[in-house]
């Protein structure tokens, strides 16, 4: 499911308009953030663990080609077929070809943000292939014909009553029932049929281990395992940044991932896949899709350290109030806002501005990505590349000229204060000035500080 483009401020304002839903969304994510805080506190040297994870990723990114080749070599030795895709189109074509080769028409898929990024579902559906997302949250948004709004909690924007209505329409549950246990059970029955009937399973990859050629998939529902073990064909899709050097590195990342994501000590399932079962096929598709470009951008390289825990979304005070869809990208929130412009600056020029640069994302990130600094840097890049609105550019130019000159500054300040005193309504008119829609302007003082200082500097000394 892909997005129709609405700018972040507009989509955010729509989400904010439903105050009850916004507050509930904010509370739900804040609850997870505090759960994460509590469990992180129980880990001695949490900050050291973050540092270690960050350094392992930095090292891996500095030798990415070597580790990817080592991973490929070992995976092939294990009996796995490895494919390389330069972009989303190549990735989708490879997956389609593999499915067509065995005549697969019914596919189960566990969570993979990469396949969301590549818009694999609509691509396969056009070819007459049924793709069922088997993660419960993903299935809910799929039935609603919507993209996920969060990378770990895809349906966090939807209330249980809405799920009840949705399941009533699609799965035949009792009308008006919103009991989570009842609804989960219905989803389980429904998905079980899909698992049993599937010709192939697609999964994501959380970590690909170079030294063994194996990979790890983390889920809470066991849906990746069920899909991959029942079907004859398993296709695992991964971005090039998913590789880590050694098995022992998992001891660092698995400790951080679930704690940061949901406040759990570990995901219910951390499944290690190494080789295909007898009589079955296992394929890995390694995808670039802009990542090597990002790797080449020194200021933004660190964004590739991301392990997709979603902690930056849970902590982001903007995300919690604007909802994931306002980011109109597969990966929402602060991390999405620094990844998306790499793929399309024009399309995502609004995202780095959807932040107050409060820095909470950077402090919560388990691999220490300096997210808020990269947001600041993207703003500069986007402006230099000509993606700033003309009116803003003109305004900024004028402001810069006034603020650089003590004389112009004093004069304009005096004028502005006088205007506000004479025509206070002008500034509070919400249509002319968004500040005034919900806020009063400061009371205008008679004198600026510099005027006061001129009069009093003798006595202050």
């Amino acid at each position: 499911m892909s997005f129709t483009h609405t700018s972040h401020p507009k989509a955010a304002a729509e989400f904010v308009q439903n105050t009850n839903r916004m507050n509930w969304h904010d509370e739900a994510l804040w609850f997870i953030r505090t759960k994460r805080d509590r469990i992180a506190q129980t880990v001695p040297d949490w900050e050291l663990l973050r540092q270690q994870a960050s350094e392992i990723k930095a090292h891996t990114l500095s030798k990415l080609d070597t580790y990817l080749q080592q991973f490929e070599e070992n995976a092939i030795a294990n009996g796995v077929t490895v494919h390389w895709a330069a972009d989303a189109a190549e990735h989708n074509a490879i997956v389609l070809k593999l499915l067509q080769k065995v005549g697969a028409t019914k596919i189960v898929k566990s969570k993979s943000m990469l396949t969301e990024e590549c818009h694999l579902n609509p691509f396969l559906e056009k070819q007459g292939i049924e793709v069922v997302d088997t993660d419960l949250g993903e299935r809910i948004v799929q039935l609603r014909n919507e993209p996920p709004s969060h990378i770990v909690l895809p349906a966090i924007h939807i209330k249980k009553e809405e799920v009840g209505q949705l399941f009533h329409e699609h799965l035949g549950t009792k009308k008006g029932s919103a009991d989570p246990q009842y609804l989960t059970n219905a989803a389980r029955e429904h998905l079980r049929q899909k698992f049993l009937a599937a010709d192939a399973a697609i999964t994501g990859v959380n970590f690909a281990v170079a030294e063994t050629g194996g990979f790890v998939v983390c889920t809470n529902e066991g849906n990746a395992d069920l899909g991959a073990h029942l079907a004859k064909l398993h296709i695992a899709c991964m971005g090039i940044e998913k590789v880590i050097p050694q098995t022992k590195d998992l001891g660092v990342f698995l400790r951080l991932l679930a704690r940061s994501a949901t406040g759990q000590a570990i995901t219910t399932y951390s499944s290690h896949f190494v080789k295909p079962a007898p009589g079955a096929e296992m394929h890995i598709v390694i995808v670039d899709n802009g990542r090597s470009t990002q790797l080449g951008r020194e200021d933004f390289r660190n964004s590739l350290k991301c392990i997709r825990c979603g902690a930056c979304m849970n902590t982001c005070p903007v995300y919690r109030r604007s909802g994931g869809h306002s980011y109109h990208n597969a990966v929402a929130g602060p991390i999405g806002a620094i990844l998306a412009p790499n793929i399309d600056m024009k399309e995502y020029a609004d995202l780095p501005f959807a932040s107050t640069l409060c820095g909470s994302c950077t402090d919560v990130c388990p691999v220490k990505i300096d997210i808020h600094n990269q947001l600041y840097k993207w703003r500069q890049v986007l402006t230099r590349e000509g993606h700033a609105p003309a009116a803003k550019k003109a305004g900024m130019k004028m402001m810069a000229s006034v603020l650089a000159s003590p004389k112009k500054f004093s004069f304009s300040g005096k004028m502005a204060r006088r205007m506000l005193r004479w025509f206070p309504k002008l500034a509070v008119n919400g249509t002319l000035n968004p500040w005034g829609r919900q806020r009063e302007l400061p009371k205008v003082p008679d004198q600026s500080f510099r005027e006061w200082y001129k009069q009093h500097k003798k006595e202050t000394k």
Partner: protein, 245 residues
């Protein structure tokens, strides 16, 4: 010790009392303070808006105004962070570097340079502290709740030296208020919603006064408070610490 007062542009124009309080506070502590009158703005409004390239004029003027001082002190964590992170001058980078390393936010200047241990002032009221994010996370004026490190807060340390003051605990003490520079108008809906969350936290804890290290955060929250006619008085931390409020 030559100390210059750096007054953020909007404080100069709209909150002269905050600058006066800062000056008096420093003088009460025996510091001889200058206000270089050629100063204007640190350039942050343009830079955060993506127009860092337009800040060369501001940077030059800033360096000219503050060169030669041992310390540059300002009642704003946000403006100080901007200077520390982004003040450059291609034609005189050495001078820029010197200024960058000598600029201090008011509270950290008091706790780290002057090493203030007591203040002879009193303030009656239930006070909520909003540590601006740029000061707290950027300048590390206080520990942040995301990081698993021992708690500390320089502004709180100073407020606790004030007699009779009652600091109120908050549910989400270091959540951003939603000001964010141009964000407060370009993302007006989210900005106001964030501010309102903060204010309901203060109201729930019966705070009578809101204080903080950045007048920009406070201006935004005060705007919401006044529009809703809520019984919360807003004061910059300098106004409480100088004993004149």
């Amino acid at each position: 010790m030559r100390v210059a007062l750096f007054v953020p542009c909007y404080v100069d124009q709209f909150y002269p009392n905050v600058a006066i309080a800062t000056m008096q506070l420093l003088q009460n502590l025996g510091v001889d303070v200058d206000f270089p009158e050629q100063q204007t703005c640190c350039g942050q409004p343009m830079a955060n808006g993506g127009f860092e390239d337009y800040t060369a004029g501001c940077n030059k003027n800033f360096i000219r105004s503050f060169t030669g001082y041992d310390y540059v002190v300002s009642p704003s964590g946000s403006c100080v962070l901007h200077v520390k992170d982004h003040l450059h001058d291609a034609s005189n980078e050495a001078a820029a570097t010197t200024v960058r390393t000598r600029v201090y936010e008011l509270c950290e200047f008091l706790t780290d340079v002057l090493k203030v241990k007591q203040l002879d002032v009193s303030f009656r009221g239930r006070v909520a502290l909003h540590q601006g994010c740029h000061g707290q996370r950027g300048l590390q004026l206080g520990s942040s709740s995301e990081r698993m490190l021992p708690f500390f807060s320089k502004p709180m340390q100073l407020l606790q030296m004030v007699k009779d003051i009652e600091m109120v605990p908050l549910l989400r003490g270091d959540e951003c208020c939603g000001f964010g520079g141009t964000f407060c108008v370009t993302e007006e809906a989210v900005s106001a919603a964030m501010g309102n969350s903060k204010i309901s936290d203060y109201m729930q804890h019966n705070a009578q006064v809101l204080t903080g290290t950045d007048m920009s955060c406070l201006m935004h929250q005060e705007g919401l408070i006044r529009r809703q006619r809520l019984p919360i008085r807003v004061l910059h931390i300098a106004e409480i610490l100088c004993g004149n409020s």
